[in-house]
Amino acid sequence: MATTAHTEAPGGHKGTFPPFDSHTFASQLVWLVITFVLLYVVLAKVALPRVGGIIAERQKRIDDDLAQANSFKTQSDSAIAAYEKALADARNRAQSIANDMREKQTAEAESVRKKIEDQFNVKLADAEKAIAATKQAAMANVRGIATDAAKAIVERLTGKAPADTAIDAAITDVLKR
């Protein structure tokens, strides 16, 4: 093996392929163990929990934000539902109030109409009664007038007063026709 190295390292022997030079093994092993164990301890105790903590913190923050957004969405959804329910309720109530009102007014109008009709009927009946009474009275008067008239006519024509019975009979006979 061609070696042109002038610097003869204390551990390295001329002519030996350095990676297989067993004289350097002890120091390499010692330093490897020291540095690697140091690295392991620093990583396990400080560095990795730190980086992992940062990542977990960010993940937690994202999850929290998502959960919050979700709860806000649920809240707004329920608010919309409540609003729509209130709207529907109000509409229903308005409808029922309108219906009630209409029914009430119809009933009122009906009763008023009935009352007036009844009053009219009563007045009508009274009037008819009055008419009948007047008619009867008039009819009763007709006989008297006829009797008197017939008596006067006959008296004027014949010069003598006829018998009341004959006139009565004659008038009754006439009224019968």
Partner: protein, 250 residues
């Protein structure tokens, strides 16, 4: 010395630190790059997330992407139970990735071009699988080697193959990373040395040197992909092996 493609793998002692028995443990260039990788990863993850912003900036976003990427890799291959190995897999992935990418900087040293490093990493995975497997499942862990629905007369053969493949895992696991990084860096260095060789040979040589230069540019892009891919392959194989420890029944 610039034309020696092996020189870049040289381990150089910077200063001695302590002794284990008779062996001097020095702070080497390799150790410096390992420390650099740890610092880069730590800065990337901690300084990059300093603001802890809800809407991440560039560095924080990249850190989070890396986190999610490794976490998803584990979850998809080893299930949510595999997440207890998350720091381990994350450390392996980022360490190998950082070391590989730093190694692509010219004149830098690549830690993973040494078999002892990749072998150690692979062995740590292998031992984790063994220890966790036996701790969690006891002797049921051996079910791993006995696939269900296999006729009895070929079962011994199958079990033998399964055990052999299990034992060879750390070897293939480590050699794959090591060989890829080593070969890539040697190739880069060889083509780079062609540029200097041709470039020193006058005008025509300079014109010819553009060819290996273009090649080096293309290879660097490829090596960047390999650097990521090998780190990812190492991590995903780790997950698959850990999955065996978590769910030994096939």
């Amino acid at each position: 010395m610039a034309v020696d493609p092996i020189h870049q793998f040289q381990i150089i002692d910077l200063f001695p630190v302590f002794k284990i028995g008779n062996t001097e443990i020095a702070f080497t260039n390799s150790a410096a790059y390992m420390v650099a990788a740890v610092l880069v990863i730590t800065a990337f993850l901690i300084v990059g997330t300093a603001k802890r912003s809800l809407v991440p900036g560039r560095v924080q976003s990249t850190a989070e992407l890396t986190y999610e990427f490794v976490a998803n890799t584990i979850r998809s291959t080893a299930g949510t139970e595999g997440m207890r190995f998350f720091p381990f897999v994350f450390a392996l992935f980022t360490f190998i990735l950082t070391v590989n990418i730093i190694g692509l900087i010219p004149y830098a040293f690549t830690v993973t071009t040494h078999i002892i490093v990749t072998a150690m990493l692979a062995l740590s995975v292998f031992l984790t699988v063994l220890v966790y497997g036996f701790w969690k499942h006891g002797l049921h862990f051996f079910n791993l080697f006995v696939p269900k629905g296999i006729p009895v007369y070929i079962l011994p053969l199958i079990v033998f193959i399964e055990v052999l493949s299990f034992l060879s895992r750390p070897i293939s696991h480590s050699v794959r990373l090591f060989a890829n990084m080593l070969a890539g860096h040697i190739t880069l260095k060889v083509f780079a040395s062609f540029i200097t060789l041709l470039g020193s040979a006058g005008i025509i040589g300079m014109a010819g040197a553009t060819l290996p230069l273009a090649m080096v540019v293309a290879l660097t892009a490829l090596e960047l992909l390999v650097a990521f891919l090998q780190a990812y392959v190492f991590a995903i194989l780790t997950c698959i092996y850990l999955n065996d420890a978590i769910h030994p029944g096939h």
